[in-house]
Amino acid sequence: MGRLKKARFHLMKDLGAPALMGLAALKKKKRPVKPKPQFGPLLRSSGRLREIMTRHYLLSRYAEGAKPVAWVTSGAPVEMLRPFDFYTVYPENHGALCGAQKMGAELCSAAEERGYHQDLCSYARIDLGVCFSGKTPVGRLPKPDLLFASNNICQTVMYWFEVLAYHYKIPIIIFDTPYNFEEIKEADIAYMVNQFKDMIPVLERISGKVFREEKFQEIIRIARETSFTWGEVLATMKADPAPMTIFDAFIHLAPVVSLRGLPVALDYYRLLLSELKDRVDKGIGALVHERKRLMWDNIAMWYKVRDFSNLFAEHGMNFVTATYTNAWAETTPHLKEGSPFESMAKAYSLIILNNNLNHRLSLMERLIREFRVDGVVIHSARSCKPYSVGQYDLKRLLMERLGLPSVVIEADIADPRAYSEEQAKTRLEAFFEVME
């Protein structure tokens, strides 16, 4: 790592970034956002979230050459990288950002022009599109020194990251989490623990840093607390009315995904939690009139978050829980400093997408009960086979077992070309009718 680049990184971190962001904030203040009448007051913490994520992406530009940079998948045990001081970038989080900024189609096309099929996951296509075109709403992404992927969310990330590894000619580590067709097995845990042990010398070599047990344990502690606090944040939506919507949670999810194990994420969720608790105490809801409570299944449709938020609010319907946002609160609170590898193996391989569909059904039933859900919106995401295959049966079973109405929207996470407004409108109208 160059000394000059290191100095530049630290200068930006301590002085440059705060100054630039201060200026940006001043500009922002000139354009106050006026909430729609159906919504309660905006969350104050959102400003801090914006600051954190802007700073993260801003600094990432200076990380290249100053720190080892890793591109990481959303379900990977990033705690393994933190002791080696990697600057971590999450292509999925970045893909969501591109989707939300309506750049999904353009970036996907850039990958498609190079031969990547339109049927492939749009996070992957967006990321490859960024690699080929250099375009991104965050200015620039740092070139990675390492790729770190786990197939606990899908096998797609392995194929995608193999493409990146060949493109950049850099090492890749895949943390392989055997799928839990039934219960997790001792042999699976031992395999995962051994993989962690195999990784350490590789990470030491790439980063030039030595693994320190105490630092690692501290990171595990912070990561656990962060996930736990995120779980408490989500749990505030059990209140009636819920103090935020799942559309807010989609946005506030970013730190627990991409900054987990760092104090900044934990501090943020403490701030958000106290604001939400305060709202609950005062009876302030995300919607002024919350008539119905809904659950969202699957990843967000990033290009539609705002439109959907408005549409459902107009019907007095609030999303109070989602299988997606819950994923980072479900298992990582079980991390243990005393047995970091074993607990990480369990936490990362027991997440929703690495578990059988019976497990998913029970999890949904539990969330439906705890959050007193009246109906479910199921996003069938063309990009994401592990999340989507089985949803038609889920819909049937939720009706058979709980008498719960649901609707399936055929769409995509970040590529709006896979979404038909007409079809969604027809299905949603029918759903709204059933819900009345």
Binding site: D176, N356, L357
Partner: protein, 364 residues
């Protein structure tokens, strides 16, 4: 060569049950230790491309799921697997993974469903230990219901597996050297019988095929076929008609799992483990692009292929991701490439024919 008439699967299965007293498992793609099943007198019958019209599976699967999974599920839903004693789902891709869970958890099917996970991480010491353990666990799980695996039986079936691999290798070698007188359709017609024949029947079939087919291959443009499976037969017929000679393949259901070098070890589980880690690179296992390229170039080298056809099952993520980089590098070597994607049972359209014709011209 002697034209080969395959037995009807249905009759063969019935015969195996009645006369041989074998149990029969429906096995979904792709890689699994068939030797353990043979040792338990269970016949694995693989479900890759059943010729069924899809009517019921659409109620369970979105339109963006591949037809291997769709037609496999259709077969189950139409009751065409009712004669089977169980199912096995190897962990091949996200779609098979979730299909396994739909069948096991949601459809109320009474038959036992088994799952076999093989390591995906870049192979290191932990993968090897895990795979060995997986084999032992698989044997003992099956043993609980179907009787314990007898060591001599396992040794015998491992040996039969090795004999099969050796005959398949020989067929591939002869074909690559231009000394196998079989059309593309005949070659795969025979090789793919191994997807359901017991080795007691497949071994003599392979021997016979080799004996009667040794000779000069026909003339034509030599190509490598890459993808999941050589289907539908109309494609192979079209290639034959256009004098395209498949001299090698990089197909998931053929060379990527059938071409296993000989291995010896005292313990049959160790043999199976060694074999697994010597299998060719594959997108569904350890599949770095570099390793796959080296493997393809090795095949080009030994067969004199002038081009590569990527014949992709529509919506197959494992295959689609690698294609652009593979194509780019293959082109750099001056070879022709053609990428086609198709539904399983959709015969090649006029447009595909035209594209193949143009591809052949490019090679000449």
């Amino acid at each position: 060569m002697m034209r080969f008439e395959p037995p009807s699967r249905r009759e063969y299965i019935r015969d195996q049950k009645m006369r041989q007293g074998r149990r029969v498992f429906g096995v979904f793609p792709a890689q699994y230790p068939k030797e353990i099943l043979w040792a338990l007198n269970i016949l694995p019958v693989e479900i890759w491309d059943p010729p069924v019209k899809t009517t019921r599976a659409d109620a369970h699967l979105q339109p963006y799921i591949c037809s291997v999974v769709r037609s496999g599920l259709e077969l189950v839903l139409q009751g065409k697997c009712d004669d089977l004693d169980g199912f096995l789902f190897p962990h091949t891709c996200d779609s098979i993974q979730n299909l396994a869970s739909i069948v096991n958890d949601y459809l109320g099917i009474e038959k036992p469903c088994y799952f076999f996970y093989h390591p995906k991480a870049h192979y290191g010491p932990s993968s090897r230990a895990y795979y060995l353990e997986q084999l032992r666990n698989f044997a003992s799980t099956l043993g609980k219901r179907w009787g314990a695996v007898e060591p001599e039986e396992l040794e015998r079936s491992v040996s039969q597996g090795q004999q099969t691999a050796s005959l398949v290798r020989e067929a591939y070698d002869l074909r690559a050297a231009g000394t196998l007188g079989a059309t593309n359709e005949e070659f795969y017609g025979v090789i793919r019988q191994g997807e359901f024949l017991h080795p007691d029947d497949f071994l003599p079939l392979m021997r016979n095929f080799l004996e009667t087919s040794k000779g000069r291959s026909g003339s034509g443009s030599p190509v490598i076929l890459s993808g999941v499976l050589p289907n539908p037969p109309e494609l192979l017929r079209l290639l034959d008609e256009l004098h395209v000679r498949v001299v090698e393949d990089d197909l998931l259901n053929c060379s990527r799992r059938l071409i296993v070098p000989p291995v010896s070890a005292a313990d049959p589980f160790e043999v199976l483990t060694e074999q697994y880690f010597l299998m060719p690179p594959c997108s569904t296992r350890e599949g770095s692009i570099q390793a796959r390229l080296e493997y393809l170039f090795e095949k080009v080298e030994r067969s004199g292929a002038k081009g590569v056809i990527f014949w992709i099952v529509k919506f197959c993520e494992p295959e689609l991701f690698g294609v652009p980089q593979l194509v780019e590098e293959i082109k750099k070597k001056g070879l022709a490439t053609l990428v086609l994607d198709s539904e399983l049972h959709q015969g090649p359209s006029g447009q595909i024919r035209t594209r193949i014709e143009a591809f052949v011209e490019m090679m000449s």
